[in-house]
Amino acid sequence: MLKDITLGQYFPGNTVVHRLDPRTKLLMTLLYIVTLFLCKWFVSYGVMLVFLITAVALSRIRPKALLKGLKPLIIIIIFTAVINLFYTEGRVLVEFWIFKITAEGLQNAFFLVLRIMMLVTGTFLLTYTTSPIALTDGLESLLSPLKKIHFPVHELAMMMSIALRFIPTLIEETDKIMSAQKARGADFETGNIFRRAKALIPILVPLFVSAFRRADELATAMECRCYHGGEGRTKLKQLRYHRRDALCLLLGAVLLAGIIVLRHFML
């Protein structure tokens, strides 16, 4: 049921990839995505693939778990592939009825699918090896220069971590409310879309009421624990860069530079 949904699931571990500073991992993911978009030809993609496979191997995340993350995207992947396959002008390979497949189309489709898959796998590697709270901390720290222009960095990070905290609770609650309404004969499975949407009211109303009640109680509890915004706040775990972070970022920079060079030679 709903409980089986995984949202940015984290697989605890103690590998090099896990131990990297969350900021490093965030930056590396960004770098990786940018680099991926600069790739032109087999050589560049090959280099990136080697990088990705090495990272996955180091993280000891089972490739199966990563591939599972691709599942919901299959339709998008197929759709992009098909569009590119049929709608790219160029040297015609096969032609039937109104469709024609060109060599360029085939090539575009192939690279695009590869790119999407590598992109998704890369970002999943980030969320699989970084706890949500470390991720929030990392993001807050990376964005902290924006505080100077009065961007609410701390508030945003706090909201994110509270959302993460309450998602499982609210999913459980949804399950409970659903069961309770089913016990009163509510039917969520039959009827047309309109009827089904209407059938959701008995779930959504109690869920919102409960979410507001929780929010209200949580706000009081936070006040009781001396919460007064981000000012003067310290952290249990302070983020610290280590040598491995520097090495990792260096590798990222080399990778980016390398791909730019390869791109120049159309490789």
Partner: protein, 288 residues
Amino acid sequence: MAAVIEVRDLCHTYSVGTPFEHDAIKHIGFTVEKGEFLGVIGHTGSGKSTLIQHLNGLLKPTSGDVLLSGESIWKDKQTTRRARFRVGLVFQYPEYQLFEDTVFQDIAFGPKNMGLSETEIKQRVFRAAEFAGVKPASLEKSPFDLSGGQKRRVAIAGVIAMEPEIVIFDEPTAGLDPAARKSLLENISAYQKATGATVMMVSHSMDDVALMADRLLVLNEGQIEMLGTPAEIFREAERLQQIGLTVPQVTSLFLRLKELGLPVDPATYTVDAALAQLLRLKGGAAGC
């Protein structure tokens, strides 16, 4: 008397095929007689909630079966749906399921889903409201404007309005103060007397169920630990304590008295029975 519910070798395993796979209930079998009051006790995680959700078909057993008046509720789709209405299930903290604009409409939700006529729905709502102790003046109010205790009564009325043959209450008094608790239990008792419905009540408060139940079903780690009359169950107070349950205060007092050497029956669980026994020790007449 005929068994209105028969549970046959029921098993339920959650999250099959994942690392979180676990058996919530294992090989549970028992019957409930028509008009009986069965208390179900067990601490958190003993499988109580999983068990009761099988009785109206909300959960499908991994193996085993549930029979209502001798007929499997999984025979066909209609039978399963009918089971929802034949077995009314009042969840824990049921006030969190209220959603309609008025109390009346909320109580009418179940009967409406049954496809009853307007007049029938109306009658049932009024009857259910009375049984559950919902004030008639509240019927046109928004359920969200009521006090916590009144909200819970509305939610209970919402289930009773389906006029189920069997009503199951999951911790109906959780979080209520003593006065509200007592009054709600009285309502449940009166409802059963008036309608002859079969009632099951899940609780971890021994004092609540001991006074009302004909029999008690004790669950531990997904299995039936004990099944019998309250007196039979409380006689084995130690076994209850071992599995993390308490006994009524009167029972623990009488256990201690017996240990001290008084010839009393430790399976005593009401104040009245306790007084009767103590007075009998003095030969009926007090020291006056």
